[in-house]
């Protein structure tokens, strides 16, 4: 296939070589990642929590935007695969001295990087790096998007899919509600693409008009502004973090007002199915988007999500490194 039309994440054989977004990723590629993550979950229960798959490989964490949790889970995942991990806090290094993004990348390739894990405030930065590597004959160096702007956070989307499949087995009979600040959420976007690709019949977004993207229906979701309506009969509820800075921008009146309408409380959750699972990508704002009684309740699977996230990131890195 000519390079111009090929999905930049896939090689000529259609195998995953970078993970940039779940958008446009074929269902078998997604399912394969979830399948391979399953045996990696078991590694955490052993005496030696390491396998030798990426021994001698170098994983560079390039975090142009802070995220202790995501960086830590990538670091643990790479170390459990026996890779060497180099963390670069780019915000305070070369780029502040004027070096361009791609010059930074070229320098790190010269240091024999094998995988770049990239987080950037600009949407498309990981794509730019992947295309640069592909175009300069460095297709053996791989890129994983760890969150870019408002665009995509594919490993979070995959760990959400893994968690849903773990508890619900199938996607084809599920109703999933994603509640809160969908507008600013790359997590929501990735999850919506993943759920629709795997055949989820009903994906709902629930939130105030000011926090839902215009024309969000075009992603194949049903829109609800009344949370009680939106939760009725749901199998899965995904709560999104309400970023405090949104309060200042006149998008919302106050945290208390938000909690009243869109906070997940036990009585609202009672409208969902009795076997509903409650997910949250973290970090949580208790008393803003979720009540502690729900966050610590028996329907919450928020901490298992974190554990599965390490296995999913191990699966992604070992798949791309082998292609």
């Amino acid at each position: 296939m000519p390079d111009l039309v090929r999905n930049p994440q896939l090689n000529a054989d259609g195998e995953l070589t970078h993970l940039l977004t779940l958008e446009g990723l074929p269902a078998p590629v997604i399912t394969n990642i979830l399948d391979i993550a399953t045996p990696f979950v078991g590694i955490a229960e052993r005496e030696v929590k390491k396998v030798p798959l990426l021994r001698g490989k170098a994983v560079f964490n390039l975090f142009f935007e802070n995220s202790t949790r995501t960086r830590t889970t990538f670091e643990i995942a790479a170390k459990r695969l026996s890779a060497d991990v180099i963390n670069l806090n780019i915000g305070v290094s070369s780029t502040t001295k004027g070096e361009t993004l791609l010059d930074t990348v070229d320098n790190l390739v010269a240091m024999d990087a094998d995988i770049f894990v990239v987080r950037h405030a600009q949407s498309g930065a990981p794509h730019l790096i992947a295309q640069h590597l592909n175009a300069h004959g460095r297709g053996h160096v791989h890129v994983v998007n760890a969150g870019d702007g408002r665009h995509s956070h594919p490993t979070q989307g995959l760990l959400d899919l893994y968690t849903i499949r773990h508890y619900k087995k199938e996607f084809h009979n599920l109703t999933v509600a994603i509640v809160g600040d969908v507008l600013h959420s790359r997590v929501a976007r990735s999850l919506i693409h993943g759920l629709t690709t795997l055949g989820t019949p009903e994906v709902r977004v629930v939130g105030p008009k000011t926090l839902l993207p215009s024309k969000v229906e075009s992603l194949g979701v049903r829109v609800f502004h009344d949370m009680r309506e939106g939760l009725k009969g749901c199998d899965v509820v995904v709560m999104l973090r309400l970023q405090n800075e949104r309060m200042n921008g006149a998008l919302l009146p106050s945290a208390g007002e938000y909690f009243k309408h869109y906070g997940l409380t036990p009585d609202k959750l009672a409208l969902a199915r009795p076997d509903v699972i409650v997910m949250h990508p973290g970090p949580m704002n208790r008393g803003v988007e979720i009540d502690s009684a729900v966050a610590d309740g028996e329907r919450a699977v928020i901490l298992p999500q974190v554990t599965f996230g390490i296995a999913v990131r191990m699966a992604v890195m070992s798949i791309i490194a082998g292609n």
């Binding site: 195998e15 394969n32 399948d35 391979i36 399953t38 045996p39 990696f40 979950v41 078991g42 590694i43 052993r46 005496e47 030696v48 390491k50 396998v51 030798p52 798959l53 070992s318 798949i319 490194a321 082998g322 292609n323």
Partner: protein, 170 residues
């Protein structure tokens, strides 16, 4: 392709293997089968050989030495060793012993669970062609098979059978 008469009868070979193991295997030895054929055989041997034998299964995908060449195959299973490997006597079980590379990978994986007191190896068929210094402690049958062919174990209900296929890398 060899004639059907040359393909070993898996059930008869299993019976012969169990016969050989019966007097020698420790009463509390654990059986650990390598996916997928070895796992089926480990399940059966644990029933056929007197004693209290815990059974575990391991998938060696994450320990293979050809990862750099051929990447990660789909269909990796989750290893499960429901007993304490530390200090245990373990009989590693595989269907066909060939290059010895799977056994090397399996031993490496076992040691990431703990330090066993002793590890032995039981195989249904030893087809020769070793590329590592690995030998079976117990073997059902020895058989020369051409490099271009692979011997494949299948399970239909509880019944095991061998067939011959063209080797993937031939």
């Amino acid at each position: 392709m060899p004639q059907p008469s040359q393909i070993p009868d898996a059930e008869a070979t299993l019976a012969a293997l169990a016969e050989r193991m019966r007097p020698a295997v420790a009463f509390d030895a654990a059986f650990v089968g390598i996916y997928s054929g070895g796992a089926w055989i480990a399940d059966r041997l644990a029933q056929m050989i007197p004693g209290e034998h815990p059974v575990g299964h391991i998938d060696v995908s994450f320990y293979r030495d050809d990862f750099a060449r051929s990447g990660l195959k789909s269909g990796a299973k989750r290893s499960a060793l429901p007993f304490d490997v530390e200090g245990a006597t373990i009989i590693l079980v595989d269907d066909v012993l060939y290059t010895g590379r799977s056994v090397r990978a399996a031993i490496n994986e076992l040691f990431d669970y703990g330090r066993p007191a002793r590890v032995e190896l039981a195989v249904l068929v030893d087809r020769g062609g070793r590329e590592l210094p690995v030998e079976a402690t117990y073997c059902g049958v020895r058989l020369a098979v051409a490099r271009s062919l692979s011997l494949v174990l299948a399970k239909d209900g509880e019944r095991l059978s061998f067939s011959v296929e063209k080797a993937a890398d031939a």
